[in-house]
Symmetry: C2
Subunit: 131 residues, 2 copies
């Protein structure tokens, strides 16, 4: 089972990110179960590289999923069960949201070596994080 509450083990860039920021009203209404199911489903899609997700107690959340290509993102968007979740999200779960599709061009990290994808050529560097 993929955990979305930790750093995603992505390979060296380039690859793609779907940055999904949203605000939820109070009340679960099936949200947590759907969110868990979507992570499990996405992780089985071709081209899926990882996901990172956080939501605070006030209902503001950011989920970033990582993909090999734009085509992989399109396939995930078109997945039947995901489409139902997207429609329910618009109708029930989200007050407002914005989805941004971005091409990751470079990265810097400090994480245990074993968390890095074996294929990655990126190493922990002296370049510090931007906030």
């Amino acid at each position: 089972m993929i955990s979305a509450s930790s750093l995603a083990k992505t390979p060296s860039p380039p690859y793609y990110a779907v940055i999904f920021a949203s605000r939820r009203p109070h009340g679960d209404r099936g949200y947590d179960q759907m969110a868990e199911r979507m992570v499990a489903l996405a992780s089985q899609m071709p081209g899926f590289l990882g996901v990172e997700s956080v939501r605070d107690v006030d209902g503001f959340g950011i989920t970033v999923s990582y993909w090999e290509s734009e085509d992989a993102i399109r396939q995930w968007k078109a997945h039947a069960e995901h489409q139902i979740a997207q429609r329910t999200g618009k109708a029930v779960w989200y007050t407002d949201y914005i989805v941004r599709i971005a091409k990751v061009e470079r990265d810097y990290c400090r994480m245990p070596e074993q968390l890095r994808q074996p294929s990655s050529s990126a190493k922990p560097t002296e370049i510090p994080p931007s906030t």
Copy 2:
């Protein structure tokens, strides 16, 4: 004062995103004050477009800042006070982290019209969110 706990009012793509995912150990150690100061500082930098930030109770967080250009990102990275925060982050605040620099190519949203940048040509669409 910019709030980082809400949707950033970004213009139409293209623009750049700095996706910063990190894990923090327990204990504040000056973190909250620094984080607030960095948002205030960044928002005064040329090319700053907005920021979205969430951290959960377990210490996992995602901050995405948006910039007009890669040059604007470089200037912010090189800012003297930000450099101190970056060094302290590595030494004290973060267990592990990854910074990804990405070019935002397209977006879809549902948010009140008044939250959109006036210059934006993007409109709320029927294209639903990916998770």
